[in-house]
Symmetry: C2
């Protein structure tokens, strides 16, 4: 938990940052992955676990599987970033490359499942994963029971739905806000339409938030989340740099979305005590949005 008088003064609220960038594997996803893996019976765990993810969930699942001493098979598209692949390898994940299409990915996952008996652990559309992600908000409210609001980024909705369940369960009157980039705004559109509107062509720097809500996370968010704040792509880079320079914390673009949402909603948050989930810190240090490269 980190606070900053400078940032508080800038936005007129009291901010309490939950630093999931300092979490193991550099991201909140370690929470959901551990919960899902540790909830398996010995029988269920025997064949290991499996997921398809080119990002943070793959690394987090590899770590959780290592903790339980079972294999983790991670299906990764051939065009994934080398830094993401390194993260999965660092935690002992067994990488299975596939062509970068949905069909190829599902075929690879089905093949591994039939060969190994590994259990598929979805990155967000899984009740154990959702419950695990909710523990960040649980800890936030244990430390600061007097929070008026919590802001969390929303991509597939695992973190946001878990946050809402934990926060409203402990404190029904708290506001829970989702923060979403304009370039991948399926949560805002789905809530407005009253049905799941998948994200087809996401265009955002926030690589953790390009996925669509799932059929488990959408209804939870619809029931429990007070509002989605949509932030511009420009605000995202600015707030990322702001956090790096004032909090001295390396956060990834997806986390900056939550900070940008606080500033965007600052009129309604004036004088409030606001928990902000800095979801992760896995960023390509060679490519920063504020530095033009040759």
């Amino acid at each position: 938990m980190v606070t900053s008088r400078s940032l508080d003064a800038l936005c007129g609220a009291r901010l309490f940052f939950k630093c999931e960038n300092l979490q193991r594997a550099g991201v909140f996803k370690a929470r959901g992955a551990h919960n899902a893996v540790l909830a398996l019976s010995d029988e269920e765990a025997r064949g290991g676990v499996l997921t398809h993810s080119s990002g943070n969930h793959g690394a987090a699942l590899a770590l959780a599987a290592r903790v339980r001493r079972i294999p983790a098979y991670i299906v990764v598209p051939e065009n994934a970033l080398p830094s993401k692949i390194d993260n999965i390898r660092r935690y002992g994940g067994r990488i299975e490359f596939c062509p970068p299409t949905l069909a190829a990915r599902e075929a690879a996952a089905a093949r591994i499942q039939s060969e190994t008996g590994a259990r598929l652990i979805h990155a967000y559309n899984d009740p154990w994963v959702i419950a695990g992600q909710g523990t960040a908000a649980l800890e936030l409210l244990e430390d600061h029971p007097d929070l008026d609001a919590i802001v969390a980024p929303v991509g597939g909705g695992g973190l946001l739905s878990g946050t809402a369940i934990a926060a409203k369960g402990l404190k029904p009157e708290i506001s829970v806000l989702g923060a979403e980039p304009a370039g991948a705004d399926d949560a805002a559109r789905s809530l407005q339409a009253g049905r799941l509107m998948p994200q087809t062509n996401p265009r955002t720097l926030a690589d953790g938030l390009r996925t669509s809500l799932g059929d488990l996370t959408f209804p939870l968010i619809r029931q429990q989340v007070d509002a989605i704040v949509t932030v511009s792509e420009a605000a995202l880079g600015e707030n990322m740099q702001l956090v790096w320079s004032i909090l001295k914390l390396v956060i990834e673009p997806s986390s900056a979305v939550a900070v940008a949402a606080v500033f965007q909603a600052k009129e309604s948050l004036q004088g409030k005590r606001v928990g902000v989930i800095l979801s992760g810190g896995n960023v390509d240090l060679d490519r920063l949005p504020w530095i033009q490269r040759p």
Copy 2:
């Protein structure tokens, strides 16, 4: 205090990072500046405080003066970086520009002193400042009394001499190592020569470590510090990036020198418990050593 299994595995020691980058004003210098300002009698404090510094000490002194509600006059060379000037202004420091020469700087300081009665607070060659900087090591040893060694960067020597006094005072058998860049290695040369060898033409990215030891800090370091580890300029950029990517902490080049020293001295630190002072996080985010700009 931050720890990392990944970094421990890389260097074969157990590292305990004291995060002075998360200190107020983003740097350990807030400790010495507060101690010096708060130690003044009301009579002494009446005219405010004064220093010449284009860097972190100026901002830290401005902050400490604001806490005491007295003015801080900071003499800054006309060619100082805008980001440094902004830092001083953010804390209410009164900036007095001067041409970038020693004579101009001293003339400006003398003029302000005679006009205002402000007390000069030197950035490191001051017993109150040295004592204040030592409180980082004091806290490190309060949290982890079983440390075998502490590593701190050395520029003017305020942090290193304060660290050594605090650490050896609490635990005489502890090793205290200074970390210095090869491009500004006056501490290593001074210890070898047995006399103060000023730094004439520093060439290092570690902008906080370009100064020479003072006549107060040199004898303290000579008496109390076990060794100076000299690190290459290349190691400095590498270790800065390593800390950003693994610890998710923004540290400045001067802090990376301490991490580089741990890796360089890793044979003698095998299996040891080592406190590492990450001295600060004030870095120009537009200019990072690992990114070639257009």
